[in-house]
Structures are given as structure tokens and as C-alpha cells.
Subunit: 130 residues, 4 copies
DNA sequence: GTGGTCTAGACCACT
DNA sequence: GTGGTCTAGACCACC
């Protein structure tokens, strides 16, 4: 899977990494148990600092999306992804609220918004069976 | 309309302000043409610095959600809210993508997600007629 | 001649007034010797403060574009407009420089720019004979 | 490139900075991709506050003339300057109109004005090939 | 080291 | 009293 970094984005690089890896997992491009590049090689490929990659991986591990094995490397969580806990759902709502509020301000209907959400969902999800 | 700030949150204060004001507009609690508190009074009420409020107001003005009238005060945009431009829709997608990707990872179905989105949308929007 | 004010503009109201009156003189809509509205009536018509109109008129008088006669009122300078002094030409250059610099940045050619300038000039000036 | 500030001028310092940097870009003294001084070092060199420099840089970034890279620094836009959009051309006209009106009032002919514009344009632009 | 955020306090132009 | 500008000084995240 190809990761790419936008250096002029406002989002920190480590966040861009975590988001892209999660998108890889969501889309099935990254399968459970599959190996991720080592910190060193990924940092080298992207031309960024080791610490930055390490931070991204550590966060993903804390959330339960990957496993980091000393000496063996980094793999996508093979033992089932983390659950949708109530805490997660609450956080999700807080993330969605301002986005939806802005959409309403700009006159976007619920139907339009549902289409956008479905397109993104299916755009990611339908790869999963491959 | 009551605005509240979470000083502990990692989201910048000025972002919390812009988001809450946009939610106020979306929900109709803030009507077009309605006056917003002056920079100084809002800063005083919230116990924050006037520059922080100023930054929030300036961003909202740049996006077209409010008007800032020098020497007179600040009002909610009376001449129609900004449109849902292609640039806006693209930005919206980029905001939604990581949220939806994470939802997929955690096994949330499209139907569940649509319910969440609808609840938030209607929770904000249905106040509009009041 | 119709004057109009943009309350949400960043340019101070008195500047908007002086500019519009100068445009009126440039275009011949305001003829030398012609009466301008009194401070009081203009302020009333535009819904702005007396001091604001007064400031605009005072500036125009200082520059030599109008005459203010106590009790008689305000008239467009009948005794010849102010000259293009070296100081004026220098100030003009300083005003034009940033505008032209930005035009160059955006790839506007000298020919294009000349067309813009000519259009504005003739758009104002050709009314003069009427 | 040398930047200089006139503290006595009534034009805000941050405006002087943005104008000078745009002139530098227009004249080719600042090349695309070239690094600009860091906020702190420029503020130090000019003897002004870092927030003032920050404001100037932020405005130039919003217009698309520079890129601000968090943690790394500021560079002149390497991916092509912003286009001359219709909105830009309209803004330009509004900026030019009062200047040209005043020129007409003072009896400056179109030909004289064109010479002034050409001199400034070429004075900036002809450095570009060097 | 960088830019981003926030505070505190000041002066100004304008209404 | 309003927003606009500027200063001085601080802490933070990131690299």
C-alpha cells in the first residue's frame, strides 16, 4: 500500500499516517496480520523523521489497530479490530457535529449528506472483499 | 445564545468558538442579521482573551458566516449564507473520510452510521423553524 | 449625484465619501461650482453621523477639490482643480506600485493592465463632456 | 532580499510587509520555492513583534503567494502563483478606480498615466530574467 | 529550531 | 464603545 504525505497540510504528519493506515485497513488494502513497513524503512521512503513514524505507529497500537513486535516488526491487528465502544461513539459524534453543522449552514440537505457519506463508506468498504 | 468553552480540550479555543457559532446558525438559534456579542464582552464573559475571540470572528467572517462592522459590532450574515461550492464539498469529503474509515474499522455498518448522521442533522436542524 | 455607502467595507465611510465625490468630479457628474448636499442632509440621507460627512468634506477642502462656505453651503471647486504636483505624483506611484506588483505576480501582462487602466479612465472621463 | 519598514507610515506594518514581499516576487528577487526568513528572525531583524510578521505571512499564505510549513519554515509558492481570477480583477478595478479618478481631477491625461503604469510595471518586471 | 496558540495590556480611528 | 493594530512574553506540538 502506498502512503503519501502532504508536507504543507495543517494536519501533523503523524496524523496523516494514522489516518491513511486506518483507511487502508477499512478498505481491506491492509489485511489483518499483514506486515507494515518497518519504522526505519517507512521514514526513509517518506523522507520524514523516525520519531514521526514511531508516534503514528504507537498511537495505532494504543487504539488496537496494529501490533508492534520488537525485532519482528509491525503487523495489522490479526485478533479482531477494536470494538465500537460507547466512548468511541461519543467521540465520533463530537467529530461529526461541526461538519454537519457547517453543511446545514450551506444549505446541504440531509439526503445530499447521506449520499456523500454513503459514497465515502462504499468507496472504502467495497474493496474489502478483494 | 449561550457559548461555553472547554479550556482543557485540545481543540483550540477559537475553533471551539467558530464551531459553536456555526452550530448556532445551523440550528437557527442565531438568526441572520442578529447581533453577536462584541469581541470584548464575549471575551469577558468567557474569561478568555479578546484576541482569541477576534480570531474566531475573523475566521467566520472570512468564510462568510458573519459580518464584522468596524466600530459597530458583529452580526450573523444577513445576505444569505455561503454556498456549497465544489471546494467546500471537497474539503467536507476530506474531513469525513478518516472518520468514516475509523467507523468501518470498528465494524460500524453504513446503516448505523446513517442513523448517527441523521440524528445529529435533525438534532441541529429541527430547531430551525422555531 | 447618488452617493452610496458600504457599511461592511473595510474602507472608512469618510474615505468612501471622498472617493465617490472625486469620481463624480472626474466624471463630470459634479461640475465646478455645483452645490453639494449640506453636511446635515447628506448625513441624514445616508444614515450616518454628521462628523463622518464633515470629515470627508474637510479632507476634500484641504486637497482643494471643494469649497466650504459657512451658511452658504458646499460647492465643487470653481476656480480650477488642484495641480498634479510632484508630491502628488510620488504618492500616486506609491499607491500604484503594490497593485501593479500583485498584477505581475498573477501573470497579468502590461498590455492587459493598460487595457484595464484605459477602460476605467475612459469610463470615468468620457462623461465629462456631457 | 532586504525588507524595510516605515514605522511612521500610516499603512500597517503587516501591510507594508505583504506589499514588499509581493513586489519581491513580482520582480523575481524572490524566486518560487525560495525560503523566506523565519517569523522570529524577520521580526528580530526588523525590530518588530513576531505576531506582526505572522499576520503578514498568514495573509500571503491565504492569497496563495507563499507556503507556511509548520516546524520547517516559510517558502515562496513553488506550485505556480495564484491565477488572475474574475474576483481578483474586480478587486483590482475597485483599487484602481479612486486612484485614476483623482488623476483625472488633477488633469493627468491617459497617456501620462499609461507612462506611469508602464514605468512601474517594467521597473518591477524587468528584473525577472536576471 | 519552527510555526500555532493564548494571554495581558496598550493605543488608534471611527461612530 | 467598537474593531484594528501592535507589543511583550509565554507555552505547546512537532521535527
Amino acid at each position: 500500500m502506498m502512503l503519501h504525505i502532504d508536507l504543507q497540510s495543517e494536519t501533523p504528519i503523524y496524523t496523516q499516517l494514522t489516518e491513511q493506515i486506518m483507511e487502508g485497513i477499512a478498505s481491506g488494502q491492509l489485511q489483518p496480520g499483514e506486515a507494515l513497513p518497518s519504522i526505519r524503512s517507512l521514514a526513509g521512503d517518506l523522507g520524514i523523521n523516525l520519531h514521526t513514524v514511531n508516534k503514528a505507529y504507537t498511537l495505532l497500537k494504543q487504539e488496537g489497530y496494529i501490533q508492534i513486535h520488537r525485532y519482528k516488526g509491525v503487523i495489522v491487528q490479526p485478533d479482531g479490530m477494536p470494538e465500537a465502544t460507547p466512548a468511541f461513539r461519543e467521540r465520533q459524534k463530537q467529530q461529526l457535529k461541526p461538519i454537519i453543522a457547517e453543511a446545514i449552514c450551506r444549505g446541504i440537505t440531509l439526503e445530499e449528506l447521506q449520499v456523500v457519506v454513503r459514497d465515502i463508506y462504499e468507496g472504502l468498504h467495497t474493496l474489502k472483499g478483494e
